[in-house]
Symmetry: C2
Subunit: 173 residues, 2 copies
């Protein structure tokens, strides 16, 4: 049967479910010990005067809610970035659909990702970027089928990070 769902912009009231799903995604990526974010932080960072991100929610009707009673069953969190070669870009930080609502190669995940691309296009972006963990070959095949390509491999990009005490030290200048 076709899955019934809607996709809409998140509001501050969704932050409890976003926080729950961020934790579910991190568990899937075997990284849940890395998550420092909370519902309260999401409310401040995403829904105050100067939001640091935007979020889309996939919702199913009450009669299709999950075993645990959730009707918010997927999300895409994104923000705008900038390429000094190509201008405005949209970066999809997270794309997640609860396992029992996944349909291979289509369905909610695909719809969420397309909606991120649409929002980006309306904002004048010419590209969508995101990251993938290298063991996640199943998702990789899906993304490649959508026309995405690996800039780490093909362009030889390496992404660097400075955080914790090194970041503090750098900022002391």
């Amino acid at each position: 049967r076709a899955m019934q769902y809607s996709i809409r912009e998140a509001t501050s009231e969704d932050c409890k479910d976003i926080a729950r799903m961020i934790m579910e995604l991190a568990s899937y990526e075997k990284m849940s010990d890395q998550v420092k974010i909370t519902q309260e932080v999401l409310e401040t960072d995403g829904f105050s005067n100067h939001p640091f991100f935007k979020c889309l929610i996939a919702e199913v009707p009450e009669e299709h809610k999950s075993k645990e009673g959730h009707s918010k069953v997927g999300y895409a969190l994104y923000f705008y970035t900038y390429s000094t070669w190509k201008g405005r870009a949209v970066y999809m930080e997270d794309l997640y659909v609860m396992p029992e609502y996944r349909v291979a190669g289509k369905g909610l995940g695909c719809a969420l990702m397309r909606r991120v691309a649409q929002e980006g296009k309306v904002a004048g972006c010419s590209q969508l970027n995101f990251a993938l963990l290298d063991w996640n070959t199943g998702s990789r095949d899906f993304y490649v089928s959508q026309g995405c390509w690996d800039i780490t491999d093909s362009l030889g990009y390496h992404f660097m990070r400075c955080e914790g005490s090194a970041f503090e030290l750098l900022a002391q200048g």
Copy 2:
């Protein structure tokens, strides 16, 4: 002798020099055919009501201007991003200093990068991220000496991109 310079926030009037230095950096990276950005686009994208980036300019006094007569000799272009694990982050898209103003391991490049980290810290960020081309081992050593580490290698991240006709197709939904 110690290099005299100042670092300040860019204004719309700096876009001609930013565009020039973006092209110089792309030439150094052997990628100048990829640059589609212009002075006019930078003015719109960086200095209107909803800026897509922020920029710092390194400037030297008139008496130390370059052979070609430039006193704006370096820039760092950055924006804020969001990690669903760790919250607010700052992303340094470009860091560039004109060759005749480079001093190994310190000087303008280091000062620009520290200032980006400072701005990030003030904005509540806990990390600084950026990308590096894999043949650029000289810069890599500098960044590692500043406490940065390679998340592509160590965490197995791959960065994916969707652009051009694939992006258009995706956005059509």
